[in-house]
Symmetry: C3
Subunit: 108 residues, 3 copies
């Protein structure tokens, strides 16, 4: 048994959790204190059998990895200024994941 | 030294924590993000000496294990409808507990 | 790779986190549920290379260790009562720190 501790962006939490659940992984979501750090981190805990670690890690990676998105300002804004605004690149997502060995696992 | 990470129901947290404290275990209660998951999970962290793990696990089990309760609707409701409402079974409690080895433990 | 789990006082969190960050340690701050426990605990998670554990532990100790402070009531209060109030000793700070081995560490 392993415990996966995944620190992901808030905006990715819904997708990561629902996809882990679909694959029968139970997830606990810890609240992260706002204000001090990069806003919007979420810490997930999920206990997995040794031979399921790679599957769970794959689901976390797929739904949270760092990626580039193109954002555009509202077209009304560009229209107001009389030109089209070019989309801007923004980096979103990203995860830090720890896998820890579990000596004893119990469900009561 | 071991670290016990226990995910329990909110409604059991008071009893679990006060009974752990009475047995001289210090407990930290982490807030769980609302909304996404089964409402009302709490994550407890407690560091215990190797030979105290079973004692702490017993206290957690005793005060959080999954159990059936009978709930009745308010009798005024039954009276209004002119019959007695049968009690309904509800499942409450339940815990998921991980024990992890601690390599170094310090108090400053 | 090790995972440091540090339970510190809220009032020390700012200093501990900013000094860990200055030394290039990334920190996640978990919210602690209010009401039940000593008010104002914060749990920090930080993943560190094996040979950086002592450095990180030193920063945590330096910025959170239990210490005595002298507090005085507002002088207006003493003045009102016609005497000088002696400063009182208060204990602040204090940390409980666990170091756990990490089997797998990934950044996505
Ligand atoms: Ni504009
Ligand atoms: Ni009714
Ligand atoms: Ni006074």
């Amino acid at each position: 048994m392993k415990l996966i501790i995944a620190i992901i962006q808030d905006e990715d939490a819904g997708e990561v959790i629902s996809n882990l659940n679909k694959a029968n992984f139970q997830v606990t979501r810890l609240a992260t204190k706002g204000g001090f750090l990069r806003a919007g981190n979420t810490t997930l805990l999920t206990g997995v059998e040794d031979d399921k670690v790679e599957e769970a890690m794959g689901i976390i990676e797929e739904n949270s990895k760092s990626r580039t998105q193109y954002a555009t300002l509202p077209s009304s804004c560009g229209a107001m200024h009389g030109f089209i605004l070019a989309p801007i690149e923004v980096n979103i997502g990203g995860a830090t994941v720890f896998v820890v060995d579990v000596e004893q696992f119990k469900k009561f």
